[in-house]
């Protein structure tokens, strides 16, 4: 949205050319300038510049929705709002399961079973909707190299013996879990940025990152001064992209 070119914001051709001579080509550049600077750059009067500002803002601003519309949209599809974890007490506490369309964070002391939980949830996501799953692919970003395919098959076979009765079904399930091994913060971020196309092409219904903390702790030593800012920068950037993906595609992350 911010990188939208001014051309597409319905500004006149000559105005766009004039602005590009001052290196202002996107809405972001335009909105970051003050009114006086805009007057100087566009050569127009105060009131005209205000009108231009409104035009450009309209091109970038988000759409309005009332809370009522949001509620209606949610109530139309209640089953798609959560991914049930099949652990009854957990589902009760979470009011249905892992919520779709938002970021869920699982934290615990080491050895509690976070990775096992992630593997199980990946199996669940590949199940058809009739069995409580999401009938889609899974993207699993692994930073600790803790994912084991054998364990995956073991869990699937033991929990749903009736469904995974043939080897073919197991292979089908494993084919839809896409594993990415990333070992540095930079590669994790790059991978997250590239996920949008993959989600659409592979019909992904669940994104798992296991785990964010380990890769951050490895790279950023909080005792050094500058690292704190860089670390929070990385985390905030990653979080905002993941939130955008979760909301845009209504999938759990």
């Amino acid at each position: 949205m911010a990188a939208k070119k001014l051309r597409r914001a319905r500004l006149s051709q000559e105005l766009c050319e004039r602005l590009s001579r001052h290196q202002i080509t996107t809405c972001q550049d335009f909105l970051c300038l003050s009114l006086l600077e805009l007057m100087k750059v566009t050569g127009q009067s105060y009131y005209d510049v205000q009108k231009l500002l409104c035009k450009v803002s309209r091109a970038c601003a988000p759409k309005m929705q009332t809370a009522y519309e949001m509620k209606l949209r949610k109530s139309v599809n209640p089953s798609s709002a959560f991914l049930s974890t099949t652990l009854h007490s957990l589902d009760k506490v979470l009011h249905g399961g892992v919520p779709c369309g938002s970021l869920t964070e699982i934290t615990s002391p080491p050895g509690c079973g976070k990775t096992q939980f992630c593997i199980m949830v990946s199996v669940l996501a590949t199940l058809p909707v009739s069995m409580g799953g999401l009938d889609g692919a899974v993207i699993y970003i692994d930073t600790e190299s803790a994912f084991s395919a054998e364990r995956l098959i073991e869990i699937a076979g033991n929990r749903f013996p009736t469904y995974f009765d043939s080897d073919e079904k197991l292979f089908c399930m494993t084919r839809s879990i896409h594993l990415y091994r990333e070992l540095t913060c930079g590669s994790v971020l790059k991978r997250i940025m590239s996920l949008e196309e993959e989600i659409i092409s592979k019909k992904v219904k669940l994104i798992i990152i296991d785990s964010v903390a380990s890769v951050v702790r490895k790279e950023f030593d909080t005792k050094l001064q500058g690292n704190l800012a860089e670390r929070s920068n990385f985390l905030a950037k990653g979080a905002s992209v993941l939130k955008y993906l979760a909301e845009e595609f209504s999938i759990p992350v």
Binding site: M1, A2, C27, Q28, L31, C32, S34, M39, K40, G43, Q44, S45, Y46, Y47, D48, L53, C54, V56, S57, R58, A59, C60, A61, P62, K63, M64, Q65, T66, A67, Y68, E69, M70, K71, K74, S102, S232, N233, A236, K237, S240, K243, Y244, E247
Partner: protein, 333 residues
């Protein structure tokens, strides 16, 4: 009328030409007329007419202001201001300790900033306010609508449904106790659907969308004149990452704050901002301060802009913590 040509809001190129041609005051321009102006400076007659219209508008604005009419720079006594401020409505928060500290609730025409550590209840408070602003006047509310600008994505419709249901029940109890005509009439329109349809929600993903939305807010508010509350949940979040140029960030934030002040005053609505806390690492100790150095802004402008700074140290202050949990129970009931 004696306004200097250099100070008129015309296009810079035109202004430069006028000054070069020797025009000094607005009066001279108006006397010359469009045809004369176009001949002297070498612009078309239409451009000259446009420029003169702008000048005339400015001069009328000035004249109205000096005559003491309504405008941005009217003068009045402090007593008048006091009476006006006291007559302003409040948006109650349903937490009596908080209402006491705020002097009755969140005040209209003022900006209230709520900072706190993550998880302390800032978004919940904002959602509560978005429902409370709609309470009808006979129950002590301001009967307004709410604009909710969300930058973090933490707005939960289900929670708002819970809060609104509890609020309606609360008003129903009051109506039953008092049994007055206007209470029952107001209750007919004060229901879950109407509450939800009067919360206007905008999801801004980055700071450009936030800036664009705030530029468009005055137009939106003139279309929806019943709006009495503007909530910006997470004003710090989009500015905290991905910003190399800190001076640009400060400038944009100051501009944002000024626009919100204008909105609060012109449209008689309350503006509520939530801010994150960050750690300022000092020589001997680290303290939690509101993010983005906002504190400096507010200290400078406390006098003019009426910016209230409420730091919800909900972990430290026992009283607040207690009352806030009381409120949560009330709503859940």
């Amino acid at each position: 009328m004696q306004r200097d040509v250099g100070g008129l809001p015309l296009a810079p190129a035109l202004r430069a030409r006028l000054v070069a041609a020797g025009f000094q005051t607005a009066q001279e321009l108006l006397e010359t007329g469009p045809c004369g102006l176009s001949k002297e400076i070498g612009i078309s007659k239409e451009e000259a007419l446009e420029a003169l219209q702008v000048v005339r508008q400015e001069c009328h604005g000035d004249a109205a202001r000096t005559a003491g009419g309504s405008g941005a720079t009217r003068k009045c006594t402090a007593l008048e201001l006091l009476e006006e401020e006291q007559a302003q409505g409040f948006i109650i928060t349903f937490c009596s300790a908080l209402d006491n500290i705020l002097g009755g609730g969140v005040q209209l025409t003022k900006i209230t900033e709520i900072c706190g550590a993550p998880g302390v209840g800032k978004t919940q408070l904002c959602m509560q306010l978005a429902v409370d602003v709609q309470i009808p006047e006979c129950f002590g509310g301001v009967a307004g609508e709410a604009v909710f600008i969300d930058t973090e994505g933490s707005f939960m419709v289900d929670r708002v449904v819970d809060i609104a249901t509890a609020c309606v029940q609360h008003c129903q109890l009051i109506a039953e106790a008092h049994q007055e005509e206007d209470h029952l009439k107001a209750l007919e329109t004060f229901c879950l659907e109407s509450i939800l349809s009067h919360i206007y929600y905008f999801r801004c993903r980055d700071y450009i969308e936030l800036l664009a939305q705030v530029y468009l807010l005055p137009d939106f508010l003139s279309e929806h004149s019943k709006v009495r509350l503007v909530v910006v949940d997470g004003i710090a979040f989009p500015f905290r990452h991905d910003f190399e140029d800190l001076s640009l960030r400060t400038r944009l934030l100051n501009g944002l704050a000024q626009q919100l002040i204008i909105i609060a005053n012109d449209h008689k609505s309350a503006v509520v901002l939530t801010n994150q806390m960050t750690t300022r690492i000092g020589q001997s100790q680290s303290i939690l301060v509101p993010a983005l150095g906002w504190q400096h802004c507010t200290n400078h402008r406390v006098r003019r802009s009426q910016l209230y700074h409420i730091t919800l140290h909900l972990m430290a202050s026992e009283m607040c913590n207690l009352q806030l949990s009381l409120k949560m129970q009330k709503i859940l009931k």
